[in-house]
Amino acid sequence: MDPLMIGIACMGIILLLLALGCPVGIAMILVGAGGFAAIVGIEPALNVLQTASFETASNYSFTLIPLFLLMGNVAARAGFSKDLFDSARYFSRGWNGSLALAAVSGSAAFSAISGSSLATASTMTRVAYPEMVRQGYDPRLAAGSLAAGGTLGIMIPPSIALLLYALITEQSVGDMFLAGFLPGLLAYILYVITVSVMVRRWRPSNEMASDQSITLGTALRQFAPVALLFGLVMGGLYGGLFTPTEAGGIGAFIAIIFGLWRRMSYSEFREAVVETVAVTATIFVILIGAEVFGFLLSISQLSFEMVDLIQAYELEPWQVLAAIIVFYVVMGCFLESLAMILLTVPIFFPLITASGFDPIWFGIIAVVTVETGLISPPVGMNLFVVKSAAPGLKLKDAMIGVLPFVFADLVRLIILIVFPAISLFLPNLFGHG
């Protein structure tokens, strides 16, 4: 059979396996190796399997994945989230819906030390949701703001999604993180506006004045460790003091020091480590799958044929981009965020570069779209995370409450597409080519 036809058939098989619940990484490994064997032979396919597994798992550039994960997991167990929420409550006092604003602000701040949306949503929900219920917040407003606030973790650096995109497309991790700053800030502003609008419709029935025992000094003290951790990691990275991998290591180390200072128990630290290693392995199964699948894409010439097809039909670059974004928005409702990036970016990346788009900018667009998928019903992952962390919350309420935030995300996506400078301003300022 023609290699291209095998490549196309493999794409169909992989979608079928995913639909039947096969783990994403295993599906990519199986189909990638199977397709490669069908084109080149079994012996080379086994070589690919061995090389991809060994080389991917021992790639020094990838050491920053477990290190940044460890930093976020330790921070989640060291009680930073409670302090951040209390600190944000102080700064949002006097506003209508101050707790919802504090939840979004606390999530934004927590995102600066945790690269994971799910960790941010889960941690903040445990801290903020009970208080919001106590003050008579509508569950839709409470769950919506917490689920949406959690998604900031995927955009505000250090973000695991941006990190993976940079690693698989060989872009600078530093540039990707810089590019995520302003879109992350824009998301935060749009979420604050959304909360302000939502609170007019779902006014809290029992909103109490902020705890008067929290003074400006207390609020700043509660915020300081996170600011310090973020400042040291990012300052060291952009100040040329250390590489991205070292930034991850230093961040994890400082988070552990702060955790010990805050009397984090050994069992909490162990939990953080066990979660880190389990998530690391989960990500690496997909990374190995992406590597094996990449061999198939390369040998079957599938990506290049797609580029040729676009050129033959004389499609405009914006048409290519629109098709990819529609695909992401639809698939984002069904597929886990990191899996979607690792599965699709190797396929779309050649199309994007051939169409003349900036790879850093496209990374931001892809991650923003994936981020929207995290809260898009029916299967937005953050909705389930918030539900599992919020006793008594109905999934239906979370789904209704998050819709205004999905709209805010779509507005942001349009803004970022129309004004690429928002994403590229900081990387350009710091010398991105």
Partner: protein
């Protein structure tokens, strides 16, 4: 099986802490080297190699735990299938993981023997490479048995376990 997986957790734990220590110590040593104008040189020789192999051990030793915790998959479409079919599919994926690990056991064991007979060692530190290949062969064996164990044990379909 849980005890075996816990044992591999500890190996992964040790690999992660080793990696963290190497990175932090390297940065500290470099800063000290710069500050003292090169007079104090405590830089770790082969730190990149150590970091790489720590990652290798970490990934393979933590795969059994990841398999038990659940690898990333799309649950939406199979949610509407009858429970028996869902359980059958979940068992099939566990067997598939086991089969993949069995292939790795075979490939890495062969490589271990080759490395041992050729006496190949790592570039910077001269560590015999068969040690790493041997270790990941054993980890792959554990992944294989974990997949089998997951496929054969009693279970409720994952979508019923709830998130």
């Amino acid at each position: 099986m849980e005890r075996v997986i816990n044992f591999f957790d500890r190996i992964a734990f040790a690999a992660l802490i080793t990696m963290l220590f190497i990175v932090v110590a390297s940065v500290a040593a470099r800063i000290l080297f710069d500050v003292t104008g090169g007079e104090i040189n405590l830089m770790i020789h082969g730190s990149i190699e150590l970091g790489s192999y720590s990652l290798l051990v970490l990934v393979f030793a933590s795969l059994p735990r990841a398999a038990v915790s659940g690898l990333i998959s799309v649950d939406l479409l199979i949610g509407s299938l009858p429970q028996k079919l869902r359980i059958f599919l979940e068992r099939s994926w566990d067997l598939l993981l086991s089969a993949f690990a069995a292939v790795l056991v075979w490939l890495f064991t062969e490589e271990t023997i080759t490395m041992f007979s050729r006496g190949d060692s790592s570039q910077d530190l001269g560590i015999p490479l068969y040690l790493f290949y041997g270790l990941i062969s054993i980890c792959s064996l554990c992944i294989m048995f974990t997949g089998l164990w997951l496929a054969l044990r009693k279970r409720v379909a994952s979508s019923q376990r709830g998130i």
